[in-house]
Symmetry: C2
Subunit: 297 residues, 2 copies
C-alpha cells in the first residue's frame, strides 16, 4: 500500500502554519511563517512543501484553512482566491497558484471551518452532528459544520458583523468597525477592546468589562442557536483566553434564550453546550489536514 | 406506467389545507379545515384522504408542511411529532399517527421550509442555490434551503426569537413575547403590532410605524445574510401584506449591511434580493406536495 501524503496550510492573520502529514493525520514536517504579503509568504510555502516532499514523498492532496474573505465554493472559477480584503496584497491572491505546481488537488475552506473540522474530528466537537466554531480575536467569525461538512451560502459566513442590541445608558463606546461601527466585531473583537479600554480583557481584569463583552458575544450565541440549532458552540480565539469570559458567555446566553429552547443539548448552565476548544492551537492545522484528506480517492 | 399519487398537508395556525396531487403536482382534490385540536382536525384529514383515494387511487406518499415546534428529523423516533407548543392539544400529536393507516411514507417539514420549497420550485426562489423564506405573521419563522433541501440543526430554526437592537428613546413598547419580551417576534409579529397600536400596519397606514417594524425585520434579514449567505430572501406572511413594508425592509437591510457584503446577488436597492412570494397562498401546499414527492421511489 502506498502511503498518501497531505500538505496542509493554516493561514491566519498573524502566522501561517504549514505541515506535511500522512493519511492518519500524523505530522511528518511542520513550519511556521509570519503573515506578510503573498509575494513573501507563497515562495516560503512552496519551498517548505518541496523540501518536505523530497524527504517524505510526493504530496497527494492539499488542505487549506484560511482567513478570509476568500472564495470557498469548489464550483467557482475563482475557488481559493481572496476577494476584497483590506490586507495589503491579498485581494486576488490564490492558493491554487502557489500549490498548483505540485499537481495535486487543493481543498480550501475558512480558518473557522477548518478549526471546526479539527475540533469535530479530535476535540471538543466530537459526536456533534451540527457544530458551530467561533473565533473571537482580531476578527470574529463562525464556521458551522453539518455531519462534518462546512455550510456556506453564496459565500462563507460573516458572523462578526451581526447587529447587537446595546444599552446606550450603559455603553457609550462608538464602536470600531469601519463598516458598521457597533456591530459585534466593532464591540467585542480584540482591536475593539483595545480601542475602548487601551488594554486587553485579561490585562483589564474587570468583571464589569467581561460582563459587557460576554453580553455581546452571547447575542451571537443566541443567533447561532436560533438560526442553526447546533449541538454545541465552541468559542476560541485570543479574546476568549481571558479567564471568566467563557463562563460569562454561558450565563448571558442562558439569559438570552430564557428557557425558550428545550433540548437535551442545552444543559443547565450550558457547561457542556458552550465549550472551549480542546485542541488549542492545533485545531486549525488538524482541520486543514482533514480538508486535504477529503480530496484523497 | 402507474400514476403515483401524493397526499399533501399544509398545517397552519389558522387553517389546514389538504390536497391530493399527481406526480406532476397537479391537484386532483383539495380541502380546507379550520385549525382546532388534533382530535377535531385529524379525523377530518383522514376522511378527506380516504374519499380522495377512493375517487383517484391509492396514495403513495404524504408530504406535510406544518407549524411548529415539531420534530422534523427523519432519524428521530418522534419524527413528525409536535413538541412543546402552547397550542391546546397539539403537544405530542403526530402526523404519522393520523396518516399511518394509509401505509405510505410521510415526510414532515416546517411550514416555512415547505413554503421555501414551493417558491424554490415554482416561484420567487427559482434558480437559487441557497434560499431563505421568512413568514411574518402570527409568528415569525424562517426556513433555509440549500440545493432544495431544508437545513436544520438538532431542530428546525426559530428565527422569530432573535434579539434585536432597539433605541429606547424612539421605541418604549415593552414587547409581546412571553419568553423574551422584545425579541423580533415580540416586536414585529402581527399580535405584537396589534398589542402596540391596537390595529394592523395596513390599518394604521403610518410611514413611521412601517419604518420601525421594517427596521426590526431588517435585523433578521442582516442576520440571515451574515449567517447563511442566501442567494435570495423571500418575506411572506400577513404582516408583509402591508403596502410599503417590503420596500422599507429592503432599505433598512441595505443600511444595516452598509456595503460590507459585495456580491452580484445583492443588487442595488435589493429589489431582486429581497422578494415577495410569487405563489401567494399556494406556496405552502406546493411545498408539501414536493415534500411528498421526495419520498417516491
Amino acid at each position: 500500500m502506498t502511503q498518501q501524503l497531505i500538505g496542509a496550510i493554516e493561514a491566519g492573520g498573524t502566522k501561517f502554519v504549514a505541515a506535511l502529514a500522512d493519511e492518519t493525520g500524523s505530522i511528518l514536517a511542520r513550519t511556521r511563517i509570519a503573515t506578510r504579503t503573498p509575494q513573501e509568504c507563497f515562495p516560503e510555502l512552496t519551498e517548505f512543501f518541496r523540501a518536505a516532499a523530497a524527504d517524505h514523498g510526493p504530496i497527494a492532496a492539499f488542505g487549506v484553512a484560511s482567513f478570509g474573505p476568500i472564495d470557498i465554493d469548489p464550483l467557482s472559477p475563482t475557488y481559493g482566491t481572496f476577494t476584497t480584503t483590506p490586507k495589503p496584497g491579498w485581494s486576488g491572491a490564490r492558493f491554487h497558484d502557489v500549490l498548483g505546481s505540485f499537481g495535486a488537488p487543493v481543498v480550501v475552506d475558512t480558518d473557522v471551518s477548518g478549526a471546526a473540522l479539527g475540533e469535530w474530528l479530535a476535540g471538543a466537537g466530537q459526536g456533534c452532528t451540527t457544530l458551530a466554531y467561533t473565533t473571537v480575536g482580531t476578527g470574529i467569525g463562525t464556521g458551522v459544520l453539518r455531519a462534518g461538512k462546512s455550510l456556506m451560502g453564496f459565500s462563507h459566513y460573516e458572523a462578526g458583523h451581526i447587529p447587537v442590541p446595546r444599552d446606550a445608558a450603559v455603553d457609550s463606546f462608538g464602536g470600531h468597525c469601519p463598516f458598521h461601527r457597533d456591530c459585534l466585531e466593532g464591540l467585542a473583537s480584540g482591536p475593539a477592546i483595545i480601542a475602548r479600554w487601551g488594554k486587553s480583557l485579561s490585562e483589564l481584569d474587570d468583571p464589569a468589562a467581561i460582563d459587557l463583552i460576554a453580553d455581546y458575544i452571547a447575542v451571537l450565541a443566541a443567533n447561532l442557536i436560533l438560526l442553526h440549532m447546533p449541538d454545541r458552540l465552541i468559542f476560541g480565539g485570543g479574546v476568549m483566553k481571558s479567564p471568566a469570559l467563557l463562563a460569562a458567555v454561558r450565563r448571558k446566553t442562558e439569559t438570552r434564550i430564557a428557557g425558550y429552547i428545550k433540548a437535551p443539548q442545552l444543559d443547565a448552565g450550558l457547561e457542556r453546550y458552550i465549550a472551549a476548544p480542546a485542541l488549542g492551537d492545533d485545531a486549525g492545522i488538524t482541520g486543514a489536514i482533514a480538508l486535504g484528506r477529503s480530496a484523497l480517492a
